[in-house]
């Protein structure tokens, strides 16, 4: 009959490959981020705001001459640049793996799951676009994307003539100085 110690040891050995996979995965993601900075499309997640597009849907975000274009497997939406009132960027940090990994971490004995959380986080950028519909109603769209991508998109939108109340350079400086605390 296995003892508690043996059970715990087998659990740790089970989760070691998971930890390794997460570390290599996050490294690969970082490398991919820097490589795809200059690409025309940015892999982004639609948090909320686009009409007819589900929340938390992953897709490709591009700046077209017509406006900001979001394309996913089953949805497509464009925010015309003429209707955009303002563009903001922000940075945040979040845990990766979703509910599955959260539950898996809860199952690791002796608080090992909490220690695992130290290695399973990533920094993300957010892009917020405010625009008005034909009736003048204010809408907001929020996207999250890998670090460093939001500023690129904001620059492209500003180049199209979109107004940004906080200029690109000053917002980056503020974020560098302020960190994540507000």
């Amino acid at each position: 009959m296995p003892t508690v110690r043996e059970n715990a040891r087998s659990c740790v050995f089970l989760f070691l490959p998971l930890l390794f996979w997460l570390c290599t995965g996050s490294y690969a993601q970082t490398a991919d981020t820097s490589a795809s900075k200059d690409a025309s499309g940015v892999h982004a997640m639609h948090v909320l705001g686009l009409e007819g597009v589900k929340r938390n849907l992953h897709g490709t975000l591009t700046v077209q001459p017509a406006g900001l274009d979001f394309r996913a497997a089953a949805a497509h939406a464009t925010v015309p640049s003429a209707t955009i009132q303002d563009v903001f960027t922000d940075q945040d940090s979040r845990q990766v793996g979703g509910k599955v990994l959260t539950l898996a971490k809860m199952g690791v004995p002796y608080g090992g799951g909490r220690a695992l959380s130290l290695f399973t986080h990533e920094k993300v950028d957010s892009l917020t676009v405010e625009y008005r519909d034909t009736n003048g109603g204010l809408h907001g769209v929020v996207f999250t994307m890998p670090m460093g991508q939001a500023e690129v998109l904001k620059k492209q939108l500003v180049a199209l003539g979109v107004r940004a109340s906080i200029p690109v350079a000053s917002q980056s400086k503020k974020q560098d100085a302020g960190g994540t605390k507000q």
Binding site: M1, S93, S117, D133, N135, G136, G137
Partner: protein
């Protein structure tokens, strides 16, 4: 012969954990109508939602916009109002029984999801707003401080969803006066 107690302890602990997890899951899956009171019927009012007012740098723009967008969705879901208008919507100008919902930021603390996951006590994200719903004549119909906090699980933005749900709950349960005759004419 003395029975081996260690496997029994492990079994009992596992059983307790599974029962606790089952309870949490069943609470989460409980139908909303069972947990909360049934919402009142639709009032004669329409409401126009204004975005959160905050000083520059106090509230990250994505948080403000998620509160605004999610609040509109939650208010539509309550079915308490005839119509829910967005800020600046010209169609709202001709509506006589219109309430305007203002939110002023009282406090915002951005926590950290990793801190929450590691320590379970630190890194909470908190948002607190002063809610004011006023009629066209300027009289406040509802005025209350509403807040939300993310303590253990979830992203920082979860605080905004919770706040929108809390505000919608306040308005769903608030007694609204009968609209004055000829209001806004």
């Amino acid at each position: 012969m003395r029975p081996n107690r260690r496997p029994l302890l492990v079994t009992l602990t596992r059983f307790a954990m599974e029962t606790l997890l089952l309870c949490i899951l069943s609470l989460g899956l409980m139908p909303r109508g069972f947990a909360a009171e049934k919402p009142e019927t639709t009032s004669a009012w329409a409401v126009q939602v204004e975005p959160v007012q905050a000083e520059v740098g106090q509230l990250p723009p994505d948080f403000g916009m998620v509160i605004y967008e999610d609040l509109i969705a939650q208010l539509v879901k309550t079915e308490r109002f005839q119509q829910v208008f967005r800020s600046g919507d010209h169609e709202a100008e001709g509506v006589p029984n219109l309430l305007t919902l203002h939110m002023a930021l009282q406090n915002f603390e951005r926590g950290n999801q990793t801190e929450r996951a590691v320590t379970t006590v630190a890194g909470a994200t908190k948002v607190k707003v002063h809610l004011k719903v006023s009629a066209r004549d300027g009289n406040a119909v509802v005025e209350k401080d509403v807040q939300s906090t993310v303590r253990i699980f979830g992203e920082n933005l979860k605080a905004t969803y919770a706040l929108a749900r809390n505000i919608a709950g306040v308005l769903r349960d608030a007694p609204l006066p009968a609209p004055a005759k000829g209001a806004g004419q």
